[in-house]
Symmetry: C2
Subunit: 116 residues, 2 copies
């Protein structure tokens, strides 16, 4: 992707990369389901597995992603590990997204770029 040389004139490409990475982190229904489960209360991995119906390795993978991104935090408790939202701003972002969807969102379903 060397075509971005002309982008140097815009707001730093690094910022765009970071923003894209954040949105991509949020751009998965299963990760959103995990965040949704954590919004109400702290959960162990098993509880998330139960709520989402996903495989355990899959959940651990997503949690690692969310943890590295700083969106959730973890706390060891015996042989359990309990996760929770790392920051209130995460919930704010999700809420604003819902507001946008409420305003213009019906169209998103029409987007043929994603085959669903």
């Amino acid at each position: 992707m060397t075509a971005q040389n002309t982008q140097d004139d815009l707001s730093a490409p690094d910022t765009l990369e970071l923003r894209a990475k954040l949105f991509r982190g949020l751009g998965d229904p299963n990760r959103l389901a995990i965040l949704d489960a954590l919004e109400s209360n702290e959960c162990s991995v098993q509880e998330i597995v139960g709520r989402t119906g996903l495989g355990q390795p899959n959940v651990s993978n997503h949690l690692r992603c969310l943890l590295d991104c700083g969106l959730v935090s973890r706390r060891s408790e015996g042989r359990f590990v309990r996760y929770r939202l790392a920051d209130g701003r995460v919930a704010v972002l999700l809420r604003d997204a819902d507001r946008l969807l409420a305003a213009t969102g019906t169209g998103i379903d029409n987007c043929k770029r994603y085959t669903e």
Copy 2:
């Protein structure tokens, strides 16, 4: 993906799908660059091509995605087509993301799920 049967108990999966689709729409550096260009002023496709250094079909494709998602709107002017942000809430969402990045964002770079 039949493993989501247990998800029916949570907030409707459809909502999660829509949110994911929105975030995925925003989860591409090039689309963010396009939105960035449009945030300052209305642009023709050619102008966006010039600013981003992307190929013209590529830009048209991304614009179609953003248009279908209701994030931008278009206006024909002779043989030009001028695009602009569809809603102020888009800018709000981008700004919220930057706030979150400012707070916890440095960690996102550590996320190994995306190979960059």
